[in-house]
Amino acid sequence: MEIRIRGVSRFYYAEGKTIKALDDVNLVIPANRIFTLLGPSGSGKTTLLRCIVGLEMPDTGEISIGNEIVWSKEKNISVPPEKRGLGMVFQTYAIWPHMNVFDNVAYPLQVRGTAKDAIAQRVAETLRFVQLEGFERRPATKLSGGQQQRVALARALVAAPKVILFDEPLSNLDAKLREETRKELRTFLGRLGITAVYVTHDRVEALALSDEIAVMRAGRIVETGTPKKIYFDADHRFVADFIGRANLVKATVQAEEGGCTVVDCGLGRIACQHRNLAVDSEATLCIRPEFIHPAKGAAPEGGNRIDGRIESMVFIGEAYEAEIRVGTELLLAKIDPDAQLEEGDAVNFTLDPAHCLLVAI
């Protein structure tokens, strides 16, 4: 079900100061997709999620889920969380320690007054779905972190919610388990075809899981788009920088040439992906390290040819991280671990205009 958020703000008052946790957020979360709210801590993503689910009341605006308005300041509508029919997985999982796995998962059905045999059947189905068959009678707190996470997921899914919400559900798992669980979650959600709202500060998680990402900063939505759009084609410098490692170079727009926007910068004259920017305006050129392929010797043909010198190389396992000096700029590049290069080598490389991104300052 589609979620529409209009003009939502949320203020906190602390020590006489007003903090805008959410600042006039407008957002449409499409139905039956995995939608991620991504942002650094304190950007308001969890507050927005808690406003959707009803655990926090916004100070302004309107939120509707499907055709139902669940919160509206003007119309004085406030549907409490228990009446919204949603499912949520908490950061701490919130597994009730005094209940076993079955009771935890059955709870949403029990409070709805579902018949006993229907509950048993539905819980069994859901536990099979999250691959926890046979765990019914275990005390829930005796499970591993990954299993607890799946109990929390089962509990959120069991009553067929309109929307399922996730508040950083993987942040309490160790790195390896986090990766496995992420894949599992992707599979589960892909099979369900349900509207899912996912909050995280981990960009890899966001890129790997989402159909669509909204990047937040200081209580506002900065940019919305598919993972590829956000990674390769961000409009904002903050988004480009936050979503992955990037070389950011100050540039001045010079001209429009052959479908490219041409800029002058510390790397020389560079043709970039087209942007509607006025000549002489300032912009930031963003180049991801994995698109810089330095080599020794004869320079290949093509535009955007750049000469530099390797200033440092650090072996990090799957690659070398190299710093390449080009004039006054220092560019970070990711080089194949078997490259025959050394510190101090003079190198050259070309940049595909499609990988030269101009973002607003």
Partner: protein, 559 residues
């Protein structure tokens, strides 16, 4: 939701405020009044009278020596014990846990009685033994003195001081000491320049709390001080309101004011010190196991000392009471004494209507008082932990206020209030007084239970579709049960032995166990006293054992 919480907060502020601030207010008003029947006519006569009394200065001097000596003794003993336990290879370390917990099961009044039975100058058991063995004319020891009071009260305050100092000692980062050694300082210099200064907040906290508790103590001064005519503030107050025909509650209130002010001030100091002590602990707690010092040849003698101390703290008082409850009069244990043993005192006590009434009243107060106290504590703790408004902060300060109230002083305040109401001389007066004075002891376990319940547990129930009421019933209450049970038992075991407040508020018809025991001691009926005392110890011990069992059972569940 927000409105309901605000309303709840203010209702609780009113209730707790009435329970804690009201008696203080009445005490202040009472101290400026002519007498219980002439309430409201402003006068400073009582202050003049109380503070110009020539006996008053002796009382102050005695009190100062008593509280300082007690705190010094208990803190020093605790320091030595904590050091031996955490830093040396002394054997049988389980004994230290026993020392820190078991003495709390023995009511202070009975502990004092047992020492009087051992060391009183006329027929104290130890004195009798020594006189017989060495053919002495007079008794070598007299417990009925300031030094006797300090010894007994010091032993009573030892467990509390130990519980404050030992955790600080065990979380002490040994690297601090080691770096001092590397810098060239010897063992003693390191102890004086590094170890003790780092532990200073904890040591001072234990010392301050010792002063507050001995200042409020009534059991030892009444049982050991009064027979030796050593008056301290608590007994001075008691004398004014209980003896003779001219009981003077105005004068008692005037004296009580200074005790109250001193006590509240010291508690403020204590709370500041514990906050500082916790800060020290967090800085150095890194799961570091302090290196253990080998005691070598001193190992067994030192252990003997600890064993002797635990014997004196735990076994001796109970053994003496039990023995005294069976023999007809004070006599040295001998074949003849054992042949004369009977259940006479037990049957007399259990057939005595006043003792039975006292037992019934105490049980009623323990059960009903603990139930009401815990019910109130649940709501107060909920607001303190989960509602973070300024009003909740006010409630927190209010609810911990009575922690610093000396029972006998606050009893006088309550007296001024109850006398103007139909509650006077009823069991309800005692009930209200108990709950007001011991509320912090109910709130503490409850708020730690609430802290353990992460707000997500509550919120996820709401998201699952459960109403706030269902959430309360199915999630919050089940998770709170361990806290509720241990809070209930703690309050009940304190109420069953309550003395200081009861001694003021209890009237014919509303006798309680501790007051009845005090009466027996005033009449010198040691056998009956011991029998009734054993009943009290048995109920009290049962409750503590129950609390431990229940606590262990639920600890697993809430992990």
């Amino acid at each position: 939701m927000g409105n309901a919480r605000t309303r709840l907060t203010w209702i609780l502020i009113l209730i707790v405020g009435a329970l804690t601030v009201f008696p203080v207010l009445m005490l202040v008003l009472g101290s400026f009044s002519e007498g219980l029947t002439a309430f409201g006519h402003f006068t400073v006569d009582k202050y003049v009278e109380a503070y110009t009394d020539p006996a008053f200065f002796e009382v102050i001097a005695n009190t100062a020596v008593f509280v300082l000596g007690t705190s010094l003794l208990s803190t020093l003993l605790a320091l030595v014990l904590a050091y031996l336990n955490t830093r040396t290879d002394i054997p049988f370390k389980g004994l230290f846990r026993v020392i820190s917990i078991v003495p709390m099961m023995i009511p202070h009044l009975l502990f004092a009685v047992s020492w009087a039975l051992l060391l009183n100058p006329s027929n104290g058991l130890i004195n009798l033994v020594l006189k017989q063995t060495f053919g002495l004319d007079g008794a070598p020891f007299n417990i009925y003195s300031l030094w006797g009071m300090i010894l007994v009260e010091g032993l009573l305050e030892l467990p509390i001081a130990y519980l404050i100092i030992a955790p600080a000692m065990s979380s002490f980062d040994v690297a601090l000491e080691e770096s001092s050694r590397v810098c060239g300082a010897g063992t003693w210099r390191t102890l004086l320049r590094v170890t003790l200064p780092v532990l200073r907040p904890a040591i001072l906290a234990a010392f301050t709390l010792g002063i507050v508790r001995s200042l409020a103590s009534f059991a030892v001064p009444s049982m050991i001080g009064m027979p030796g005519r050593v008056q301290v503030l608590a007994t001075h107050l008691y004398t004014m309101i209980s003896t003779g025909f001219a009981t003077d509650y105005g004068k008692a209130a005037a004296v009580g004011m200074s005790v109250l002010v001193a006590s509240v001030t010291l508690i403020v100091v204590y709370r500041a010190l514990t906050a500082e002590s916790e800060k020290f602990v967090t800085v150095s707690s890194r799961g570091f196991r302090p290196t253990v010092i080998a005691l070598g040849r001193a190992r067994l003698p030192l252990f003997g000392l600890v064993a002797l101390l635990s014997f004196a703290l735990i076994v001796l008082p109970v053994a003496v009471l039990l023995y005294t409850s069976f023999v007809p009069y004070s006599m040295v244990p001998s074949a003849r004494a054992f042949s004369l043993m009977s259940l006479r005192h037990w049957t007399t006590v259990l057939e005595d209507p006043i003792s039975l009434l006292a037992l019934k009243n105490s049980l009623f107060l323990a059960v009903v008082g603990a139930t009401l106290g815990v019910a109130l504590s649940v709501f107060v703790a909920y607001v303190i932990v989960k509602v973070k408004t300024r009003a909740a902060g006010i409630l927190e300060s209010l609810s911990y206020l009575s922690f610093s109230f000396p029972g006998i002083v606050i009893g006088v305040g309550f007296m001024w209030f109850f006398v103007q109401t139909p509650l006077y001389a009823t069991i309800w007066a005692l009930l209200l007084g108990y709950i007001a004075t011991y509320l912090p002891y109910g709130i503490r376990p409850m708020s730690s239970a609430f802290i353990q319940i992460h707000s997500h547990l509550e919120e996820s129930s709401l998201v699952c579709g459960a109403s706030p009421l269902v959430t309360m019933r199915r999630i919050i209450v089940p998770l709170l049960i361990p806290g509720i049970v241990s809070g209930w038992i703690l309050l009940a075991s304190m109420f069953i032995r309550e003395l200081t407040l009861s001694v003021v508020l209890s009237r014919p018809g509303t006798e309680v166990l501790a007051v009845q025991i005090l009466r027996y001691s005033e009449d010198g009926l040691w056998g009956r006293l011991s029998a009734l005392g054993m009943v009290m110890i048995m109920i009290s011990t049962m409750l503590v054992v129950l609390a431990t069992l229940v606590g262990n059972r639920f600890k697993i569940a809430s992990e």
